[in-house]
């Protein structure tokens, strides 16, 4: 491996090919999801070319021009359209060189591509690829930046304070005589720190004693706790704390407008858990302010209602189908916050979704609906929806509530045999005499298997 050899035609051609593939890969990543087949193929191609080059030559260094990548002074890629130019993504943030070193692993490179893609998608003024690279600390990807980048970005001062002359002659000119007060303190202090106004005299060593093991552990646990708090939760807590304190109507209106947009952003990201928390916090604030600040409470209520009512259930359904949700529990917590109109959506999803986690969270949601309002739950039952009906049957059984038993009567007329069978089995397992009575209603079922199950069930009844 020779890292210092100059470029030859073959290697320049190879770098051109890599740079072009790099630009194409980022271009595709900006349009398609990372798991798209074309993206995956291009990424594999890029990695094969780059890793092959690094294996042979040890390092690939790209100089960054405004719209071009250069290698040893030769242009190896150019795209003058600033809106999509890959070199410009690096150039705009003051990067002058980007290098990949031997030892680079595919996972590291894929992280890097993800970072570049995220930055390339942002408007130029909103991203900073250099800070991103520094933050990630890629071990085999290096970069250099223009020394004067920050200076160029800072409005030119009238003078440059860092260059202002220093009167070093003053360092050895004249004398310094302590005031009588300081002189007295010097005489008194010995090896202590003097305090003003007769305050306590402290031993310097006491003031800056090193931390003990338990103190170090305490700080470690403080950091761990901090890292465990989701940033979004912390933000919402802080935001609503501020909104609680705010009493200027104009600021309240601005904050409510902000939080309404923020809610939409959370939905776009599929962060339903925090969207639910946001609505819960609005609800709590509305209640807390009802007496002390009724106008504010009304404003909060109005926005909260607007948010809830403007949510598109069909869009939520699409998002759930596509799996664009942070976690199923958060999604159903959010549906709960939306209110009664979201319940049929939960029923539809229970029937449709095969994912065990989603169905389990949905089950918990429907169960809670049933606990609050049995009619709302049983009102969801429809013939021809076997998964939903069986789920609701299971909920009714778990509720162990006499009031839930009459709901089984309606299954008698369902055409779906598997639902009737499930209902019969559930009734057979119940000890309540009302269950036996309803079970008898299934005795004349058209299906022999159902009739047989009813017969055996009734035999077990007292």
């Amino acid at each position: 491996m020779d890292t210092k050899a100059g470029p030859n035609d073959a290697s320049i051609e190879a770098v051109k090919d890599i740079a072009l593939t790099f630009a194409n890969a980022i271009g595709m990543l900006k349009i398609f999801p990372a798991d798209h087949s074309s993206v995956a193929a291009l990424r594999r191609d890029l990695w094969a070319k780059l890793s092959g080059f690094l294996g042979a030559r040890g390092e690939l260094a790209l100089e960054i021009g405004e719209t071009a990548f250069l290698c040893e002074g030769q242009t190896v890629f150019e795209d003058k359209n600033l809106l999509k130019s890959l070199p410009y993504v690096f150039f705009k943030d003051g990067m002058v060189k980007l290098s990949f070193r031997g030892g680079l692993e595919e996972s590291e490179f894929l992280d890097f591509l993800g970072l570049v893609k995220a930055d390339a998608l942002l408007p130029a003024e909103d991203g900073d690829i250099v800070s991103g690279l520094w933050e990630r600390e890629f071990p085999h990807i290096g970069y250099e930046t223009a020394v004067d980048y920050l200076e160029a970005k800072t409005p030119a001062p009238d003078r440059k304070p860092w260059d202002a002359p220093i009167d070093t002659a003053a360092f050895s000119r004249g004398r310094i005589d302590l005031t009588s007060e300081d002189m007295a303190a010097v005489m008194k202090a010995g090896l202590t720190i003097g305090m003003k106004d007769g305050a306590e005299i402290l031993n310097p060593a006491d003031l800056t004693a090193p931390l003990g093991k338990k103190e170090v552990q305490f700080i470690g646990s403080l950091i761990d706790i901090e890292r465990a708090i989701p940033a979004e939760k912390e933000f919402l807590d802080l935001f609503f704390e501020l909104l609680t304190l705010e009493d200027r109507p104009a600021s309240i209106a601005t904050m409510l407008q902000f939080i309404s947009c923020h809610h939409d952003d959370l939905l776009k990201k599929g962060d339903f858990g925090h969207a639910a928390l946001l609505l819960a916090q609005m609800d709590a604030l509305k209640t807390a302010a009802a007496r002390s600040a009724p106008a504010k409470s009304r404003d909060v209520d109005q926005i909260e209602r607007r948010i809830r009512e403007s949510v598109s259930l069909s869009a939520l359904k699409e998002q759930a189908r596509a799996g664009r949700m942070d976690d199923p529990t958060g999604f159903f917590l959010y549906l709960d916050r939306i209110g009664g109109r979201a319940i049929p959506l939960a029923a539809d999803l229970f029937e449709e979704m095969q994912d065990g986690l989603v169905r389990s969270a949905d089950f918990a949601f429907l169960k809670e609906i049933g606990r609050r309002n049995l009619d709302a739950l049983t009102g969801l039952l429809r013939d021809g929806l076997p998964f939903l009906c069986k789920g609701i049957i299971a909920i009714l059984v778990q509720m162990n509530d006499r009031k839930a038993i009459p709901a089984f009567d309606r299954f008698k007329n369902y055409r779906d045999k598997s639902i009737r069978l499930e209902a019969v089995q559930a009734l057979a397992a119940m000890e309540d005499p009302l269950a036996a009575k309803i079970l008898q209603g299934f005795a004349a079922d058209a299906d022999p298997e159902v009739r047989e199950t009813v017969r055996r069930g009734l035999e077990r009844k007292p």
Partner: protein
């Protein structure tokens, strides 16, 4: 060398254990002879620790580059538990001009002991310490140990220049951010993040120099200069706590912007030349907190600087929450809020203000703050902060028992000698000003075996017209 994702957990623990033992043995060797039992008792476990590493890693190479220690080419990240240890070792390397020290297979316990004794016995204040060390390192006595000289710093590269420029650029940028915010223009967080990102490596490289610059106060007004000083101190403390780079970025930006709420405060209150009444204070604190709203991004979808938001809201709250508004329910402050509360208060106390024409000397400020630990400040974080600065923080003007005055130049990494930093003499014993040498206050007179100089008092430099930061800025010229 790898700017690294670091060593794996086991190796890191082994290396840190080795370094701790190395440091202990080194300290003992400075006091006791090589045949002393106490010394020999330290060498055995040191060798044991080293032997395991050599066995598993092939060799053990410790290198110093730009004030950071590297083990087998991988940078050693530190945290609060090992910070002092690594700093002390780096300081010993630097003092002797050592760039790298490598132990190879075949090393013996005797060879290890000889090396520690040799290193400790070498007076770093005598000229050419590395050349003397190299001469003494006879390959027949040290066949499995190799030394490398510290890489020469090219004359034209002056990290102080970059640091000074960045420091002032920070102030100018922050002034601009506040000006824009007055007009409700976007904050320009990216530039601030970039400033923090640029500062962090300089802080790792030359922390004392940047601490020295924080003696600059009220340049371009109070708020921007104070914001930069608070950011420098917060980042330095954050590094010691072992925060990750992403966290340091958040902390730095939050510290820069912590006083954004001052834009909400009526100027009459902010610049009131006398102490605020309890009501005025409450009102000001409320307005300062509410000013955090200015951090909310104007455009939907942009990232929210949550930690900056946290700091702006919390840095005025007491750790005992006694000043928490009654409408708010919370049980504690977040880490960054606690941290910036400390760095903010320290810089504010050491700065002259309209309502307080005399600043507190750094040591006085620390003592005042310590008295309020548990009420205003988190006592343990404060302790970490005070330990970082030392009783006489860099940039302090101090009176010595010789009658000389000096500027504190660099804190002493050995906690036992925290009150004995390196200083730069600025007057003679008679009070005559001089551009004196830098000297360590650990230097002792060999005849009397007493320290040559000790600090007796921390003074307010403003009172004597001493601009301590100028001594540091000169290094950047």
């Amino acid at each position: 060398m790898t700017e690294g994702r670091g060593l794996d957990g086991t190796t890191r623990e082994r290396v840190l254990d080795f370094l701790l033992r190395f440091n202990i043995a080194f300290k003992i060797a400075k006091v006791y002879e090589a045949n002393n039992r106490l010394f020999l008792e330290q060498i055995e476990p040191l060798f044991g620790s080293l032997a395991i590493i050599i066995h598993t890693e092939g060799e053990a190479s410790l290198a110093l580059r730009q004030n950071a220690l590297f083990f087998n080419q991988v940078r050693l990240d530190f945290d609060l538990a090992n910070y002092q240890n690594l700093r002390a070792l780096a300081a010993e390397f630097t003092a002797r001009g050592i760039g790298a020290l490598t132990f190879r297979e075949g090393l013996t316990v005797e060879e290890t002991g000889r090396l520690v004794a040799l290193l400790a016995g070498l007076d770093p204040d005598e000229p050419e310490p590395f050349a003397r060390l190299q001469q003494a390192l006879d390959p027949r006595l040290f066949p499995h140990i190799a030394l490398e000289k510290e890489a020469a710093v090219l004359d034209e590269i002056k990290p102080e220049q970059d640091a000074a420029k960045l420091y002032f650029l920070g102030i100018l940028m922050l002034r601009e951010v506040f000006e824009k915010q007055r007009r409700k223009a976007p904050l320009g967080l990216n530039l601030l993040r970039r400033w923090v990102q640029s500062l962090a490596p300089l802080l790792a490289e030359n922390e004392p120099f940047l601490f020295g610059l924080t003696a600059i106060k009220n340049f371009e007004g109070y708020v921007p200069n104070h914001g930069v000083n608070t950011a420098v101190l917060s980042l330095a403390l954050g590094r010691r706590l072992g925060l990750k780079r992403r966290e340091l970025l958040d902390l730095g930006v939050g510290a820069l912007l912590h006083d954004l709420g001052t834009l909400e405060v009526s100027p009459g209150l902010l610049d009131k030349p006398s102490a605020l009444s309890a009501d005025e204070r409450r009102s000001m604190e409320r307005q300062l907190r509410l000013g955090a709203q200015r951090m909310l991004p104007a455009k939907s979808g942009l990232p929210i600087p949550v930690k900056a938001f946290e700091i702006a809201i919390e840095h005025r709250l007491r750790i005992d929450l006694a000043n928490l508004p009654i409408e708010v329910h919370r049980t504690s402050l977040h880490l960054f809020g606690r941290l910036v509360k400390i760095t903010d208060a320290y810089d504010a106390l050491t700065t002259r203000r309209v309502y307080r024409p005399t600043a507190f000397a750094p040591g006085e400020a620390l003592a005042l703050m310590r008295a309020k630990c548990g009420e205003e400040f988190d006592p343990i974080l404060f302790k970490a902060f005070a330990a970082m600065l030392g009783p006489y923080p860099v940039g302090s003007l101090v009176a010595l028992d010789t009658g000389e005055l000096a500027v504190v130049w660099e804190s002493n990494p050995q906690s036992a000698f925290a009150a004995r930093p390196r200083v730069k003499l600025i007057t003679d014993a008679d009070g005559k000003r001089l551009d004196g040498p830098e000297t360590s206050l650990t230097a002792a007179d060999p005849k009397t075996r007493k320290f040559r100089r000790s600090i007796v008092l921390s003074l307010d430099p403003g009172r004597y017209g001493v601009r301590t930061a100028d001594y540091f800025l000169r290094k950047a010229r």
